[in-house]
């Protein structure tokens, strides 16, 4: 194992650059070091002007997503030693506008996320004195997988549909909508349906499936979208053939 590795890091300084340029740095390559450790080493010892986002270092906060050798990755979970002698190319997440160096603008995703109401919606709240809304382990299992999403946006970076049409509501927002739709305590499916059934909602997805492949939490957003398409189609057929039936 080489004791040093080259990192080719994308730079964009809005005051002076009109496009992305690459700067090469050499950092120690230790067995336990992830790409983020390499970036932190650059920031601390080599070049303090480099900008990037990070926080928890353990795959929970979802802020250190970047493109590593062309793949959307959480840099805190991507080991330098997996790239041999390098160089490792580090770029900002694709499909988002770049603010500076490796930092992207995520306002679009956050606005979309709020639109699908990712919280428990109740038509009428029961009084506090009545206690919690209870749930069985089976009911928990129905949505647990989708609740693992950490909003890291790797799925948006991997989704060519979002890249081509930024109006598409996107994988994580739909997966999180499903997380609440499938929750036995929630009653907001109708409200979310209005957003999800738009042309830019679930029907924008053509099932490329890359969102699921890059997800560091095994959320399977592509599965969430197809499940929602199926249940919406079945519901539409039911209301067409059985208009008198309860929906």
């Amino acid at each position: 194992m080489a004791d040093r590795i080259a990192l080719k890091v994308a730079r964009y300084r809005p005051e002076q650059d009109s496009e992305v340029t690459f700067q090469e740095y050499e950092v120690p390559c230790r067995k336990e070091w992830v790409v983020l450790d390499g970036l932190n080493y650059i920031k601390d010892y080599v070049d303090g002007t480099l900008s990037y986002r990070w926080s928890c270092r353990m795959g929970i906060c979802g802020s250190c997503g970047m493109t590593v050798n062309g793949e959307p990755k959480l840099t805190c979970a991507t080991f330098l030693t997996d790239y041999g002698s390098g160089p490792v190319r580090i770029e900002p997440l694709r499909n988002f506008p770049i603010l500076r160096d490796l930092v992207v603008e995520i306002g679009d995703f956050l606005r979309k996320l709020t639109r699908v109401k990712p919280w428990i919606v109740r038509q009428d709240e029961k009084p506090l004195a009545d206690g919690e809304y209870l749930q069985t382990p089976q009911e928990l299992d129905e949505y647990k997988q989708f609740s693992m999403c950490i909003n890291c946006m790797l799925c948006y970076a991997a989704c060519p549909i979002y890249g081509l049409d930024p109006k598409f509501i996107g994988p994580a927002a739909i997966a999180l909508a499903q997380r609440y739709n499938l929750d036995s305590r929630d009653e907001g499916a109708r409200e979310r349906h209005a957003v999800l059934s738009e042309h830019q909602g679930i029907w924008g997805c053509t099932f490329v499936g890359e969102c699921t492949k890059v997800c560091p939490k095994n959320v399977d957003p592509a599965g969430a979208i197809q499940r929602y398409k199926l249940s919406t189609a079945v519901e539409a057929l039911q209301s067409f053939f059985l208009p008198w039936g309860g929906r």
Binding site: Y12, R94, E105, G107, G163, L164, D220, G223, R227
Partner: protein, 136 residues
């Protein structure tokens, strides 16, 4: 996407997606190949409808249809179509567990079972069709 402009974010850099985005990654290429080959699936549907029409019009129309189908060009097109229809069927069945979630006695059935059920239904239908055609 709203175009916010603040003094702290003076110039966002927006990179355009290249027209050839699907060439850069194997999975993207496979996706586009699947999308484009849908043309052959559409042709298969048209061919089937024409076959049904010929059958409905009587023995002579059916004979003419068979003759037309035996042309090398149509035969070649149908062989290619067959390959792509099988490709679509297999990829479709493999994706099925992501869209279908089935429960049995309160437990979620594994995805492999959903795929297996799809293949089994395909096999049963094929055997049935073969039996109908070959029993004569």
């Amino acid at each position: 996407m709203s175009e916010l402009y603040t003094e702290y974010h003076p110039r966002w850099l927006r990179t355009r997606v290249s027209t050839y985005w699907w060439l850069g990654r194997r999975s993207y290429f496979a996706f586009i190949a699947r999308e484009l080959s849908s043309v052959f699936v559409a042709w298969f549907v048209v061919y089937l409808l024409r076959l049904i029409r010929a059958v409905a019009q009587g023995p002579s129309a059916y004979e003419r249809f068979l003759e037309w189908s035996a042309q090398p060009a149509i035969l070649l097109l149908n062989v290619v179509t067959f390959v792509f229809v099988v490709f679509h069927a297999i990829t479709w069945f493999n994706l099925a567990p992501q869209a279908i979630v089935a429960h049995f006695r309160g437990k979620r059935l594994p995805g492999t079972l959903i795929t297996a059920a799809n293949y089994a239904a395909w096999a049963v239908t094929s055997v049935l069709v073969a039996w109908l055609l070959l029993r004569a």
